[in-house]
Amino acid sequence: MSERTSPGPDAAEIPGRFGEFGGRFVPEALIPALEELDEARQKAMVDPEFVAELDELHRTYTGRPSIITEVPRFAAHAGGARIVLKREDLNHTGSHKINNVLGQALLTKRMGKRRVIAETGAGQHGVATATAAALMGLECTVYMGRVDTERQALNVARMRMLGAEVIPVSHGSATLKDAINEALRDWVTNVGHTHYVLGTVTGPHPFPEMVRDFHKIIGEEAHDQVLALTGRLPDAVIACVGGGSNAMGIFHRFVGEESVRLIGVEAGGEGIESGRHAARFASASPGVLHGARSYLMQDEDGQTVETHSISAGLDYPSVGPEHSFLRDTGRAEYRHATDEQAMEAFRLLCRTEGIIPAIESSHALAGAIEVGRELGPEALLLVSLSGRGDKDMHTAAEYFGLIDGQGAPTEAATGEAHSASEAAHAPEAGVQE
């Protein structure tokens, strides 16, 4: 809490503020549920029984602690800096999302509720929530934009296999933000027996703080692991930022370590100048969406504008309020990687290290390539590999021409073209500031 400031008396009276960001901009009907949740999670976080139950689940179910992996062949393309990956991709369900979901599912049971709902973009948070619901015997409904259900049909099938109801949302842009709207409408209607498992560090208080706290284990483990491996702290910690949960999770332990740069990488889409991107800090201004005041991509009137990213998980018009605070106070810095830069980093990690990253995480990798080149071989970088790329194979196969429009393998793409393209394209990978 020491990193907070309270700029005025009004803010000081309101819990869940990060400077001028955060807050609770939601219908009054939800306030009692947010109060109940805040009280439940505050009690739980200091209750040895809850802490032990979550630790045990992480040890025997999630697969924590997740390992770190040093990637020298990849790092050779990043100015020769030492690069260490925090392997959240190895968690059960394939990403960091499970850390938060197990915590919130346990809280759901403690609050005596029997149903969970969630929004999902790429499907990772929806799959994690469906998984936790199956494990704990909770009813589960997942809202997903219709466009995303089509992009991620396999994840829809995974959630349904796990017993969740998946409801495609056709309103608005039919993507993640609209799924959140629909989940909030469900919550306000069914709040008596339903908990909304929000999947990132945004939304009304206490979500940004609570979700960060369930993910801070990422940075706590990595801090000790990197120290043990290298004998020192990293020069920079790098993570992709959509809503920003994996980034807050890995940043939090290092916020007080002033020598460590915190670098978030947003989705640059087709480039800032194209207008088709989700780099909030490159072009947006503060506003209110989904319960929190934060940086927001909006038009002159305050209407939310549509974003673009090749990665569904970063395709969101706002960002967690704590990121806005860290950015405005200068503690963290934010860059962006375009679709092309992220895909080059994706391919590079596959080819040099045998690790297929999520396209979201590939934005962090693109950031690492650039930061490595800036800092040179003396630098030590810790990168959050927040998820694995299995879910992205279709997108990647199309992008690199490995399959045709019908999904069949192409001749040209399976052979020599790729070993050649590694050398040809690697120098272009990186991010723009």
Binding site: D10, E13, I14, G23, R24, F25, V26, P27, E28, A29, L30, I31, P32, A33, H171, G172, K177, D178, N181, L184, R185, V188, T189, N190, V191, G192, P286, G287, V288, L289, H290, G291, R293, L296, Q298, E300, D301, G302, Q303, T304
Partner: protein, 277 residues
């Protein structure tokens, strides 16, 4: 009924209208329509038609990209209006027209559209355009310091919401920040016609009445004369939205909906006069 609407209103807010309704021994009828649906001109025409047909207060909806308190009917109307290019500035044209037609316009807006202009600028422009105040579905008083200051400065009303889930301390906090009327959400949920408004509304009005003297207007789910009469038996005002929006859904010739709109307003206006306290 139009002559009732023409009666002079003391001050900018809704207090005069609500006091007059009370003197008449009835609840007020508040009709909602979004600006820009089906077009800006038609929406303003429809709002003034509602005043002529007997609504006491017009709730002017501002289309928003992320209307999380609205059900399907109003979501689609708002999305259509935005696709056709409605702007926040059009709201001020609507409020001026409604004021000229003789009813106070209360603007219902999601908060970011006010944040974007700053609450002070929005309040000044609203007051200049004859607006009575704001209904803010996603702004709670705890977050409203700037709006409270701006609305005080410009003499505007403030309707915050209470809900069936609100405990007594929230009812006290919310109602003490309201001026004009309190928006009482009849059910847990979003806007849209319901077959029954339910007992929760009457109970919530009673619980709210116990902590405030500010008039209580009930919204969410009312669509018929019978429901209006039922709610009017315990509330100071009856708010109708989605059912009115539905009358304007004829895409080709929006004016065709106006007789149906006037007829429904007439029925609802009769309903609020049938509620016996």
């Amino acid at each position: 009924m139009s002559e009732q609407s023409q009666a002079p209103v003391a001050g900018r807010g809704v207090e005069g209208v609500l006091a007059r309704c009370r003197e008449e021994g009835r609840a007020a009828l508040i009709g909602y329509l979004p600006v820009g649906y089906p077009t800006v001109e038609h929406s303003i025409g429809a709002m003034t038609a509602m005043v002529e047909a007997g609504v006491d207060i017009v709730e002017v909806g501002v289309p928003y990209s992320d209307p999380l308190m609205d059900g399907e009917v109003i979501q689609i109307a708002a999305a259509t209006a935005l696709e056709r290019g409605v702007r926040v500035d059009d709201v001020f044209r609507a409020t001026a027209a409604i004021r000229a037609a003789g009813a106070p316009p209360m603007v219902m807006t999601y908060w970011n559209l006010v944040v974007r202009q700053t609450p002070e600028v929005f309040a000044r422009r609203l007051a200049e355009a004859g607006g009575a105040g704001l209904i803010t579905p996603d702004l709670i008083p705890d977050e409203a310091a700037e709006w409270i200051a701006a609305s005080d400065h410009h003499g505007l009303d403030r309707s915050f919401l209470v809900a069936p889930s609100s405990p007594e301390e929230r009812l006290r906090a919310v109602t003490s920040a309201c001026r004009g009327f309190v928006y009482v959400a009849s059910t847990m949920g979003v806007t849209g016609a319901r077959s029954s408004v339910g007992g929760a509304a009457a109970e919530l009005v009673a619980r709210t009445r116990a902590v405030t003297d500010v008039p209580l207007c009930v919204g969410l789910g009312v669509s018929t004369r019978e429901q209006a009469a039922e709610v009017a038996s315990y509330a100071d005002g009856v708010i109708v939205g989605s059912a009115l929006v539905k009358t304007l859904q004829d895409e080709r010739e929006p004016e065709r909906g106006f007789p149906a709109l006037r007829a429904l307003v007439g029925e609802l206006a009769a309903g609020v006069r049938e509620g016996h306290r």
